[in-house]
């Protein structure tokens, strides 16, 4: 009744931007920064990649160098999102501005930034439709292994994705390992839990917050890049990324701050996100709208359950959202 072999790959491609966002946000939150600017940062990551790719395609004319075609958008994306992360840190860590307000403002800014430059590029190309297509660049991003298609359902489920998808999973696993098994991870957790203690133990609070937040922003930005270049086949249209950034933040809570758990959970979210396309509802479109609600309902249920379970390890970092000032009395 249900076509799993076509459902799973679609759920996975939906899940990758969420996984990037969630891994980035988890690293950030572990340092005690509640970065609600992640949705905006993912927009900026996406549009920065688009700008990079656009300029390179224009400059190179018809013949693209595969390495540069991948490297330039990726670097542009990392640079754009890193700048957003730096801005967030400067405001909340150095100037100790309120994290919630700063984050929300940055999301508004990031979305506007994306739409502004997206609109400019569309104007430049003089295209008829309100979108810009970078299919040549996208081809390199979404290229899967050449023999994947010969392997039937196995190839379809496991090998049909572009390299950024595998990078997302690798980054999630690495983040988990760093958090749990290294000195850096231990220090980072301490900074987010109890900065005064970490400070007294000789850990440089500011540096950890900056590095974790900027790294987290760069990872989240890659989610935006993946969305445009692989998922959307190189087509940027304003506001298309939608609310995936918020879902990524919800995913952080869902995974109880564990990036490795995020891999499967993001696929679950991705599946729920597109479930409505696979449920036969006939002409009754309102039922589809109810199905679209599922990821959010699941998040709320998980929030309720995880606050009931009351296990200390599953709680958010204790000083999440609070600025730290050593001589505060």
């Amino acid at each position: 009744m249900f076509d799993l072999v076509s459902f799973i790959p679609r759920a996975v491609v939906q899940s990758i931007p969420l996984l990037y966002g969630a891994t980035g946000e988890t690293l950030t939150e572990k340092s005690g920064n509640l970065n609600l600017g992640i949705p905006g940062i993912m927009y900026v990551g996406g549009i920065s990649g688009v700008i990079g790719a656009f300029l390179y395609e224009q400059a190179a004319g018809g013949s693209l160098n595969p390495v540069l075609a991948v490297a330039i958008p990726t670097l542009a994306c990392l640079l754009g999102s890193a700048l957003m992360g730096l801005l967030y840190c400067f405001l909340t860590v150095t100037l100790r501005a309120n994290q919630n307000v700063t984050g929300l403002a940055m999301t508004t800014f990031g979305v506007g930034f994306g739409n502004f430059f997206g609109g400019s590029l569309i104007k430049l190309t003089g295209s008829e439709v309100p979108s810009i297509a970078l299919s040549a660049t996208s081809g390199y991003f979404s290229a899967s292994l050449p023999f994947a298609e010969d392997l039937g359902w196995f190839g379809k489920i496991f090998l049909s994705y572009g390299f950024l998808a595998y990078t997302a999973i690798a980054l999630a696993l690495i983040s988990s390992y760093v958090l749990r098994h290294t000195r850096t991870g231990l220090h980072l957790r301490a900074v987010g839990e109890n900065p005064a203690t970490a400070d007294a133990a000789g850990i440089n609070i500011g540096r950890y917050k900056y590095v974790a937040t900027v790294t987290g922003s760069m990872i989240a930005g890659l989610g935006g890049l993946y969305y445009v270049m692989d998922y959307a086949c190189g087509v940027w249209s304003n506001d298309a990324f939608g609310d995936r950034g918020w879902l990524a933040i919800a995913l952080v809570i869902f995974t109880t701050w564990r990036p490795n758990v995020g891999i499967l959970s993001s696929m679950l979210f991705g599946g729920l996100y597109i479930l409505y396309l696979f449920v036969p509802t006939g002409m009754n479109l309102s039922v589809k709208e109810l199905y679209k609600m599922l990821p959010y309902v699941v998040t709320i249920v998980v929030l309720v359950i995880s606050s009931m379970r009351n296990k200390r390890e599953n709680q958010p970092p204790e000083s999440l959202g609070l600025a730290y000032f050593r001589e505060d009395r």
Binding site: H181, T182, R183, L186, H187, R189, A190, E193, N194, A196, T197, A198, D199, A200, A201, G202, I203, N310, R312, E313, Q315, E318, R326, E327, R329
Partner: protein
Amino acid sequence: MDKNTPAVSLQNISKSFGGVPANEHVSLDIYRGEILALLGENGSGKTTLMNMLSGIYFPDEGQILIDGEPVVISSPKDAFRYGIGMIHQHFKLVDVLTAAENIVLGLKEKGRLNMEQVAGRVKEICEQYGFEVDPNQKIYDMSVSQKQTVEIVKVLYRGADILILDEPTAVLTPQETEKLFAVLRNMRSSGKAIVIITHKMHEVEALSDRVAVLNRGRFVGDVMTRDTNAQEMTNMMVGHPVTLNIQRPEPKDPKPRIEVEGLTVRSEDGVLKLEDVSFTARSGEILGIAGISGCGQKELLEAIAGLQKVEKGSIRFVEDDGSRDELIGKDPMEITSMGVALSFVPEDRLGMGLVGDMDLTDNMMLRSFREGHSVFTDRNGPRKLAAQVVKELGVITPGLTTPVRRLSGGNVQKILVGREIASAPTVLLTAYAVRGLDINSSYTIYELINKQKQAGVAVVYVGEDLDVLLQLCDRIVVLCGGKVSGILDGKTATKNQIGLMMTTVGGTREHE
């Protein structure tokens, strides 16, 4: 190394916060193989001074010498490098990490993080000094004394040989305190320099070799402990002679005022906090409540004040004419209007009763804003009350309009206790009224409580210092794990007896 070179020499140190001086030109020497007690009233700058040594604050002025060499300590990391380790009054531990993880926190050892190796070294240190620590236990599962042990092991693991302890005994039972002192004496004989900040005179006398005294941020002087006594030290601290006697006037015509019967309370997550607690508090009498912190004292007082949901039992308020009123089910406002006042000083001091961002006058108003019929509140009364509390209890504050949060802990507490007493209650519930207060202010508070007692108020006094409980209270209820372990007469009970009853119900020692 020359025994006469001080391990640490502070010279002419000054530090101020926002224009208010905390330390002014303090010079102090600390020697190896010696335990130095640092004394001073609340807000006299003891903790600030030691924080500069451990790199938390940076001095505005002055010089620090380690083994005769001038050094700059600009961060906790620098402090570790010079072998200085501080055990803070509020433990600096990360709750969700294990003991071993907390111990290696911040260390930059070579190679991969190997928790088994760390655990091994922790065990070695424990054996050397006689500690008991499970390296893999999470901090949130630990008792206060276990946490403190982790703190001490933490600084030793870093190779500290200059140890600073900020009020280490404030939360320990007498037995735990004795254990800690034995460890400190061990460390002294292995040549470490130890500084201990405390308010308890008998501890100073029992443990320290030398005493240094601060008064209002200035260094007053130092004396060898054997050449001085509690009275003299207190005089130095305060700057003028004071009397150090706690009166215990005979209760006049005591009548039952609050009857607690079979009280059982469960916390929100279902843990039994009080089990079948029964006692009577009488007017004109001070009823002491002893117990290890966190074994039901808070819940007991809150249940009486109507702030805590009760599972079983009854709490009756007895009027002068003998009629009884059930308190359970009444809301806190009704109970307050019957004359039940609660002054609870929690560990973070500001948690209950005061609003940190409001000034002194406004905090006084929290009690009285409902009075009067005008739509406008009366600010004059509270302002006068604030001025009175500041004067009577010697609160150190820049003014009545200073936010309470800016005051030092002890001063915050004086305001809370002063306000509750001023509300002229018939029942005064007070918990940890003198927690962290210096000896002079503590005695002022004991006097205030005694005055209330003589005025016929039924006082319930939850305290930590057993010596004080024994001197102040007419009867003492000992709690152990939420059960009443026994009710003793304040005049005949002994410290040891109470200590044992605090740890085992009924106070009988179990054979292991």
